[in-house]
Symmetry: C2
Subunit: 334 residues, 2 copies
């Protein structure tokens, strides 16, 4: 299955197909130098599978975890490309999760002012979320994704077979973003989570979530309007992520709860529980609040949040900062 | 006079007008936070003139010289923006020469994945050269402009009055790039250098050189083809720049000499002498060669250079690396 992203000159295909990693040599232009960027915890075999199909492969492994999304780690990657005499006609290929994709994509966007980038996401989260949309970034001075670029990949390969090696907690972590897509824009997708055993066969849900994200990103590539709805659950979610050891999708799951109507929440909680996602967390609500304000760089009186009054529907709402503690307390307990 | 850069969604105006700095408040959208980036050696009055027309100005001064084009100095600038709670709707305004513009532009391109950038070049070199084309960058591991972005400004203000404070060596330094434009694409412009006293009234020459660069950049925004002709004189020039203390334009002047036909060279030398630009330099030719190869990241046998067989005409020529020493020795003596 191919999802075509229509973004003018920056258009590209997302190829989703079991075993497509083995066909990378046909699907991508690998007849050049290829800097394969992967993570310490990503099964090595995926990067090696790509490498064996390249004319001149280099594998660059970054430490796992969000802390790798920083200037020093990016500079090491850029230095490796320089060391190997990469020119503008060579390319970068990310093989791994969101951290790998965000970092490698940003490096590709600025090496010699921009070279080709391929993305091969190997986790549910990165397949659903960071594989599509062209957002690349590093964190900076404690703020997530503070510095980066919109840099669309030339192609994305999603091989569902890579999910077989993924721990179940990581599967649920990614499904939280698919659930988010259902809640804001696809009631049927949300219902599937209620009635089916998604975690054991996530493929169709990934497809449906990508379809939602495709529509939104095509309408607003640079997030000047509609694309903000994809931040549903992220305002409080990012705050929780900063002060706990929870995974991104787990925090988004928590962050969605206060932003749903009572009716939706009643249906959402059992879905989260079924997926093994948290529905509450022990942390200091004041610390979460501070993190939210820091993350949003907010000093004025208002903030725009996305709310879901009914499954498949969203509203953008401007709320007072004073309302935030009340919302946070719905999921964060001391 | 307004030069309209036609680059689709990234189109913008270059306003060239005596005294336009005093009208910045009308010409630019300064009703927001504005990070005015300027250089230590740039007369402070220019940044202050812009600042007094801003709703919420910040002035950030970087050390003068090429060594400021680096990640650490850029990170300080990004941190200053973060510190002042800049959002995506705020902007960066460069006031100074090419180093200031390149660094500020790259920072604007990646702060929150890109915010508005204005450029107010105050030297002949930056008015002729770096103000137009959207190239931003930092140097990295000894290589000029290795990491950066194509990020078009929202508007460029060129105030010829700022040249009154410019040392004459800096005027000639910038005129070398205008002379380059004449040699490759505008015979009349080249002739003006032969017959007129350009250095004392550079305004018209700046205009003519901008017209050349506009045509070239519009045809090839991302330097995949034609735009490479703007590198005329830069291959050997960059090499000389790396190993001597000469200014960029001075090195370009030297770098052009070997790339001209005998006929053109005979006319070029007196022009360079009139402008006070060097026509030869004492340095180690082998060191220059090493620097050229390093700069071009060349390890293969061939390199494409731009040559000028007659004023206003260029040819792209593929030469063997072995031919480089001979060319270098035309201007570099031990």
């Amino acid at each position: 299955m191919i999802i075509r992203m229509d973004l003018g000159a920056a258009s590209y295909d997302i190829v989703m197909e079991r075993g497509c990693l083995s066909r990378a040599g046909q699907l991508l232009n690998l007849k050049r130098k290829v800097m394969i960027v992967t993570g310490e915890l990503v099964p090595r075999i995926y990067a090696e599978k790509i490498a064996e199909q390249c004319q001149e492969p280099y594998i660059h492994t970054i430490p796992s975890g969000e802390s790798s999304k920083c200037f020093p780690v990016m500079e090491e990657l850029l230095a490796a490309m320089l060391e190997a005499s990469f020119t503008r006609h060579d390319c970068v290929c990310a093989v791994g999760g969101g951290v790998v994709g965000d970092l490698a994509g940003f490096a590709a966007s600025c090496y010699m002012r921009g070279i080709d980038f391929y993305n091969v996401p190997t986790t549910v989260l990165s397949q659903v979320d960071s594989s599509i949309g062209g957002k690349t970034a590093v964190n900076f001075r404690g703020i997530k994704n503070m510095v980066g670029a919109f840099w669309q990949p030339k192609k994305v390969l999603i091989d569902p077979d890579t999910l077989k090696t993924l721990p179940s907690r990581q599967v649920s972590n990614g499904l939280a973003e698919a659930l988010k897509a259902g809640l804001i824009a696809d009631e049927e997708l949300f219902s599937a989570f209620e009635t089916e055993d998604i975690a054991s066969a996530p493929e169709q849900v990934i497809e449906a979530a990508l379809a939602v994200k495709k529509r939104v990103v095509e309408a607003d590539e640079r997030e000047s309007g509609l694309r903000k709805i994809l931040n549903f659950g992220h305002t409080i979610g990012h705050g929780i992520e900063s002060v706990t050891g929870l995974l991104h999708g787990e925090c988004v799951a928590l962050g969605m709860i206060p932003m749903c109507s009572q009716e939706v929440r009643t249906r959402l909680i059992p879905v989260l529980e079924k997926l093994g996602l948290p529905v509450s967390v022990q942390a200091d609500p004041d610390e979460v609040l501070t993190a939210v304000l820091h993350d949003k760089k907010m000093f004025s009186g208002k903030i725009t949040v996305v709310k879901v009054p009914a499954p498949g529907n969203f509203v953008m709402e401007s709320i007072m900062l004073e309302e935030l503690p009340e919302l946070i307390k719905m999921v964060v307990f001391k």
